[in-house]
Amino acid sequence: MALLRSTLVRHLVLLALGALALVLLTGSLSTFHNYELAGLGAYVCTAAGLTVLTGLNGQISLGHAALMAIGGYTVALLQIRFSDRAITGLWVLPLSLLAGAAVTGVAAAVVGVAAARLRGPYLAGVTLALGVALPALTSRFTSVFKGDQGLSVPFDPPPASLGANFAVERWQAWISLGAALIVLFFLANLNRSAIGRHFRAVRDDEVAAQLSGLSVPRVQILAFTVSGVAAGLGGGVFAVSLQTASPGSFDLTLSLALLSAVVIGGLGSLAGAVWGSIIVVYLGIVLRGFVDDLGLSAASAQKLHDNLPNAAFGLLLVLVMLILPGGIQGLLRRLAGVAPVDRLRRGRPEPFAAAIAQHSSSPPPSGGQQ
């Protein structure tokens, strides 16, 4: 019992349970469902980072898909180099993913410097511009990024020790969900520490945070960097799961889907980021399947394919804001009887009226010039 009081032990136990569930789940699912799981892992990585940024630190980002793109393209470029030189090994892909996450972290820190000077709608605008502009760069530098077609992401087949029949999709699901578990582990650690508390303090009241000795820009840049590293890793495993890095897979709709996932799941909650990602990914799959079953013409089916899920996310977002402000995780907490930490109904007693009544003998504050 005493051991469980250690944050590290508790989170390592959860990490091990998650890994066990991942092995069992991927083993029991078809290759197609494993392919979907690989995509889900990428969403979870990025949404977890986004919920830390937006939910815990109060900085909105409408451009997280662009950060994913940085991670995805970095991994693609490195994997192509490795593959060209016939360098193989179990360490190759993790190294590329790590590099992708690191490069994205640096880029996010730069964005964070600008973001620390911006608030609310201005920050939303700048991150939106980033989300639109960055993928467009790929068609500007076509010799490196190969334009709309994108880069292929070669990677080694699953290690032979896993057996000859081990499907590539299952391997991709392992990589992607494994990355998601690692991201969740580290973010949960941060969240439970003073760093997480400082993120939230800066979100709630910048003046009071400063007077408590926190440098607001420094905390905000740190949050952006942490979030960027998670998004970079998410982008990397996304590219691996798609076996390609192209501008189309990191477009604005992905950014919006991620934000929807974070809000639907419960802003600021890591578990909520997981629930939200599951909903957004599987709702997308279900709706696209529904469109396919309608028997429409190819052109209109294509249009609906992309837009129906977005419309659904938007609608869901509005519904959640209206009836479930704490998102899914808030609902689960309420069902479990845990006092909701986000209950914010202030029952403030009318202090001034009472005070004035009691201290009418003291001079009126503004009775200066009559």
Partner: protein, 271 residues
């Protein structure tokens, strides 16, 4: 009254603040000696809050300077606690989605030893640090008689309790000078007595004597806790001295109450 060159002395020297054509503070000079409680009074708009904002670094003075502990102070809000100065906010300013205990823990941000890496990897060092902070924060809540509120969100607490939590958040940084911005605003008689006792106790607090500079409208509080009172009017320092001096100063009566009000009757402030 004048102790020889105390260590933690704040000197405000000729501070002037102009916002465009408006002079918010006009050549204001005074001192907060170590172990003293100094009150700043004056009608609304007389520059009290601007004065606090200058000392905290939110407003840069047009001219004049500050000296703290014998050195020139160029304040920056986030470096203030490091210099040994803490401030409470008039609007309480608690972090509304942090529990009362967490709020107080943030106040001790400076005292944290574990860094980012130990937090990221959840090293035992980080846990120990957290435990130490939690104990310390709880201790401060206990001292202020609001330990029951530890796990509640500020919004669910009565206003006087919120005020005490914000005091605990300021005090956990172990300041040498505490700036209180209308600490009595919204308090009832009972809370006011508690507050007065607390303020009086700060300069004598064992190993951490803490001077106090307070802005306050409640004359009874100011007159009962302050060693010295500074009166501002239209940004100018019009009087300073002991509460008794200030009380009997006709200039103060004129500035604070308007000339046509009989000073004696209205300034009977002592309880």
């Amino acid at each position: 009254m004048n102790s020889p060159a105390p260590e933690s002395r704040l000197s405000v020297q000729g501070v002037t603040v102009r916002f465009g054509g408006l002079t918010a503070l006009d050549d204001v000079s005074f001192e907060v000696a170590q172990g003293h409680v100094v009150g700043v009074i004056g009608p609304n708009g007389s520059g009290k809050t601007t004065l606090f904002n200058v000392i905290c670094g939110f407003v840069r003075p047009t001219s004049g300077s500050l000296t703290w502990q014998g050195k020139t102070l160029r304040p920056r809000p986030d470096r203030l606690v490091r210099a040994g100065i803490a401030r409470t906010l008039q609007s309480v300013g608690l972090f509304e989605r942090l529990t009362a205990l967490e709020n107080v823990m943030v106040g001790a941000a400076r005292a944290r030893k574990a860094g980012f890496a130990s937090a990221l990897f959840a090293l035992p060092r980080s846990d120990r640090d957290e435990q130490r902070l939690r104990d310390e924060a709880l201790d401060w809540l206990r001292r202020l008689d609001v330990a029951d509120a530890a796990n509640r969100l500020p919004g669910t607490l009565p206003y006087p309790v919120q005020k005490r939590v914000s005091l605990a958040r300021a005090l956990i940084s172990r300041p040498r000078l505490l700036l209180l911005d209308e600490p009595a605003g919204g308090l009832g008689a009972e809370d006011m007595t508690h507050l007065a006792g607390l303020i009086r106790g700060l300069p004598e607090a064992g190993e951490w004597p803490c001077s106090v500079l307070l802005v306050e409208h409640h004359m009874d509080l100011v007159m009962s806790v302050c060693d010295q009172v500074v009166v501002l009017d239209f940004g100018r320092l019009v009087a300073s001295g002991t509460p008794d001096d200030v009380r009997s100063d006709p200039v103060v009566a004129a500035a604070y109450l308007g000339t046509d009000v009989p000073a004696e009757a209205e300034l009977r402030a002592t309880p």
